[in-house]
Every structure is written in structure tokens, then in C-alpha cells.
């Protein structure tokens, strides 16, 4: 009896969790923050505020396509994924490869002519298209490179900027 009551008390909490964390049912924890650009050389790694983006977006599908099982609005995706349930793979890197143009990736593509999503962007392309696209469209959030990730010293050298900026040539001044 006692245990029944405590279970009943848990139900609203579980419902709340189910609403907030749709992937929880699949044993996948929804992270509050995600470290991005771990191996980046030109830009520092950043902590992506996942919790905040969950609050400000309408549906998980705004970023995660159909993988979380929430409604997909893209008319193109609806053609096949109207009734698609949640998938095992939810993370970006689960589908989008970090090296889309390597010889191996191109060979894999050649050997899978029946795959529908052949024109799938790589991890970097997918994330930038998603982030910059949404930030530009909604006119909220940063759209410049350093707006999201600070440039490293190596990056400054690469882009000839900051302390590596081209110096005005002596002798060419005046006149």
C-alpha cells in the first residue's frame, strides 16, 4: 500500500521528466551542456548550453530531425518520416561523419548506391549549417565565427589577424 502511494506521487514527476527528456525513455540521458570542438586547432573548444537551446527551440526536431520522435515540420522530411519514432542515434556525430570527403568516405558512398541520404553533410558542416542557419533566420544568437568560439593563437596566425596581422610596410607610408 505504502509503495503504491509513493509510486503515485512519482507519476507527475515522471510525466514531467518524460516531457522534458523525450530521450530518457530510451536510456539516453539528455546533457545540459556539450563540449564542442574538442580537437579544434584554430578555435578553442566551447561548452554548448544544450539546456538553454532546449528552452528556446520549439521542437527537438529543429536540430535533431526525426531522431527524438518529436514532430517533424520540414515538408521534405515528412514525405518519409511523418510517423518515424525515436531512433537509437540522436547525437550529431552519430550520423554526420567528421571526414565526409576522405577517400574512405567517398568509397563507402560509392558502395552504398541505395542509401537515400547520400548528400549528408559532415559533422562540421551539419553543425554550422544548423547553428548559423537558425541564428540568422531567427535573428537571435551569434552569427560570426568568434561569436560562438574564440579563436586560438594558432587561429590568429592562420587568419593573419590579432598579433599576426600584416604590419604596414615601412617606406610605403606617406604620399
Amino acid at each position: 500500500m505504502k509503495s503504491d502511494r509513493s509510486l503515485q506521487a512519482l507519476i507527475p514527476l515522471l510525466l514531467l521528466l518524460a516531457v522534458l527528456l523525450p530521450a530518457a525513455g530510451w536510456g539516453i540521458s539528455v546533457p545540459d551542456s556539450i563540449i564542442l570542438n574538442k580537437n579544434g586547432a584554430l578555435y578553442d573548444q566551447i561548452s554548448f548550453d544544450h539546456a538553454r537551446h532546449i528552452r528556446v527551440t520549439k521542437e527537438c526536431s529543429d536540430c535533431h530531425h526525426h531522431t527524438t520522435g518529436t514532430l517533424v515540420e520540414d515538408p521534405n522530411c515528412i514525405r518519409c518520416h511523418r510517423n518515424s519514432g525515436p531512433s537509437q542515434t540522436v547525437s550529431c556525430r552519430g550520423c554526420h561523419t567528421p571526414d565526409p570527403f576522405s577517400a574512405k568516405s567517398l568509397r563507402d558512398k560509392d558502395h552504398a548506391p541505395k542509401t537515400y541520404h547520400l548528400d549528408k553533410p559532415g559533422l562540421k558542416g551539419a553543425m554550422h549549417q544548423s547553428c548559423v542557419g537558425c541564428h540568422t533566420k531567427s535573428k537571435k544568437g551569434p552569427t560570426t565565427c568568434t561569436g560562438c568560439h574564440p579563436r586560438s593563437a594558432a587561429g590568429d596566425a592562420f587568419y593573419n589577424t590579432g598579433e599576426y596581422a600584416p604590419k604596414p610596410k615601412a617606406g610605403k607610408s606617406g604620399h
Binding site: F101, S102, A103, D119, H128, V132, C145, Y159
Partner: protein, 309 residues
């Protein structure tokens, strides 16, 4: 008589070279659609955000000189730029009325034509179209005539005017030496954050381009620039607006540049080799009697006079 034999040999040799050569060129022109495994890049201008990362990557990969302005300085977009000896690729900004964004960017570099006009125009064969699809350039044999700069329909090759002793033609070589020949994408494709540049087999990229247009017709203008232009190019462009709005020349036609000059060039060996021999022969024939007369003057003059009634 020895001189006449020499001229006969010249005439025969010249004719053989001309007709043999003419048949050879006739077969080569007009129908080459690129190597079957040739690589290319699909430039999707709807994805480009004008970050200039490709310019920075190219600068480092090709060991180009330090730029005048930092690569994160967007004031360079205030005036259109072209590729030159210091920059093998440049991104330009275009004001576009139709686009919701108002501004669009387009990266430009060598388009790596299937039948390159630069290669056609080069009389020392400094250019090579490689099996991988790159149009590469050998500075060691270049004589600096700059015909390629005039021939290129896209105004791409630059010239190192600043070098007094060893000026070279400078153009994008698809990172052939350092990447493409090892099966790797060029540096600009590698760095592009938006994946506005898609690297792959040219034949696959054409399918990809048409598929993107078919799937999202609202996003694209229905044309793949470079699929057919000047006989096809390794680099292809799709956009949300017509190509002319991004300063892409729509008057080039689909024939390779070589087709425009093939007939004329066929006559060049004839002019150079047949004409001297032919006209020398005519001259010799025309002056034959005179020669005979001159030669005979010393020995047979009396005989000739005898024969005269």
C-alpha cells in the same frame, strides 16, 4: 640540283606533318567529357557565409605571401576582387535583389575545365589536365607569354609581375601536389565550416546538384553552372539566383574554347610548313628557265645562237 632535292623533301615532309597533324587535332577536339574518375567541387552559394576561411586555407597550403589585410577583415568585400599572384582564390560579395538575404557570396578560383582553354593556348605545353581532374601548371617550361591569361574564359590565371627574374603564371591547382593526388580534398574544402564546398567525383556532384534543386526548388535557381559551360568544368556552382547575378558569365556557350579555334589552328601548320616549301617550289619553277639560261650562258651560248633561225 641538290637544293631542289632538299626542297622536295621539305615539301613532302611538310605535307605529311600537316595532314597527319590535322587529322589528330580533329579527333581530339569537342567531345572530351573529362576523365571518368575526375574529381570536382560543388559550390553551393546558398550556404556560403563569406567567412573567407577558404582564402586563409589556400594562402597557407600554397605558401602564398602574407595578405595585405587579415583574413577576418570583411572590408575587402567593398570592391570586387579577382584572383592574382597573391591569392589563388577570392570570395566576392554580391548585392542580390531576389534573395531574402540581400547579399550573397561566391568563391572563385580555377574551375578546372574538362577542356581547358589555358592548356589549348599554351604552345610549350606547360599545362596538364590530370586524371584526377586538376589543371596543373609547370613553371619550369613556361616562357611567360601569358596566352593562357587571355584564353581563360573565367579570367583566372594571374602573373607574378612583381618578380623581375622568374615571373610565373599563378593559378589554383586543386592542391594537386599536396592533397588531390593522395585522394584528399583541397584545403579550401577541408576548412569550409558551412560545407558550401562539396568534394567528390564530378559525375556524382552533377547528380547531387540536381538532387538538391529537385528536393528544395524554392531554395535554388534551376541551373548547375559548369555542368555544360565551355564543355564542362570540374568546379560546379548552384545558387538561389541566376548565375549572372553572381557575376558568372552566361554568354560562354557550351562548346569548349578549343572548338572556336580548332579550324583556325589546323591551318597554322599548313601556313608554316607547306607555304614556304610550296612557294619556294613555284618560285623555282617560275625561274627555272631563267636559271637554265643563266647557267647555259657561259658554255652553250654559241649553240643556242646556232639553233636560232
Amino acid at each position: 640540283m641538290k637544293r631542289r632535292d632538299f626542297l622536295k623533301v621539305c615539301l613532302a615532309g611538310g605535307a605529311a606533318a600537316t595532314f597527319g597533324g590535322a587529322c589528330g587535332t580533329a579527333r581530339a577536339g569537342g567531345s572530351f567529357e573529362g576523365y571518368p574518375d575526375g574529381m570536382g567541387v560543388l559550390v553551393d552559394t546558398t550556404r556560403c557565409i563569406g567567412c573567407r576561411s577558404c582564402e586563409a586555407a589556400c594562402n597557407k597550403e600554397q605558401k602564398m605571401p602574407e595578405p595585405k589585410k587579415p583574413f577576418d577583415d570583411m572590408s575587402v568585400f567593398n570592391q570586387p576582387r579577382r584572383t592574382d599572384e597573391t591569392a589563388l582564390t577570392v570570395v566576392n560579395r554580391y548585392e542580390v535583389k531576389e534573395s531574402s538575404r540581400g547579399q550573397m557570396y561566391r568563391k572563385q578560383q580555377c574551375n578546372h575545365c574538362n577542356e581547358p582553354a589555358c592548356l589549348t593556348s599554351c604552345f610549350v605545353n606547360a599545362y596538364t589536365k590530370t586524371r584526377e581532374g586538376a589543371v596543373i601548371y609547370n613553371g619550369d617550361i613556361c616562357v611567360g607569354c601569358r596566352n593562357c591569361m587571355i584564353a581563360c574564359p573565367f579570367n583566372i590565371p594571374g602573373y607574378s609581375y612583381s618578380s623581375a627574374f622568374n615571373p610565373l603564371v599563378k593559378k589554383c591547382i586543386f592542391c594537386y601536389d599536396t592533397r588531390l593526388k593522395y585522394g584528399k580534398p583541397p584545403a579550401c574544402v577541408d576548412i569550409c565550416p558551412q560545407e558550401a564546398l562539396t568534394f567528390g567525383h564530378r559525375k556524382d556532384l552533377i547528380k547531387t546538384a540536381h538532387e538538391r534543386i529537385r528536393e528544395t526548388p524554392d531554395r535554388y535557381y534551376d541551373h548547375v553552372y559548369g555542368e555544360k559551360e565551355v564543355g564542362g568544368t570540374g568546379w560546379l556552382y548552384i545558387s538561389s539566383v541566376s548565375p549572372d547575378q553572381l557575376a558568372m558569365d552566361t554568354s560562354l556557350g557550351n562548346e569548349p574554347i578549343i572548338s572556336n579555334v580548332k579550324e583556325f589552328l589546323g591551318t597554322v601548320p599548313m601556313v608554316l610548313s607547306i607555304w614556304p616549301a610550296l612557294f619556294s617550289g613555284i618560285h623555282l619553277l617560275a625561274t627555272r628557265n631563267k636559271d637554265h639560261h643563266d647557267n647555259d650562258t657561259s658554255t652553250h651560248t654559241p649553240g643556242q645562237e646556232d639553233g636560232t633561225p
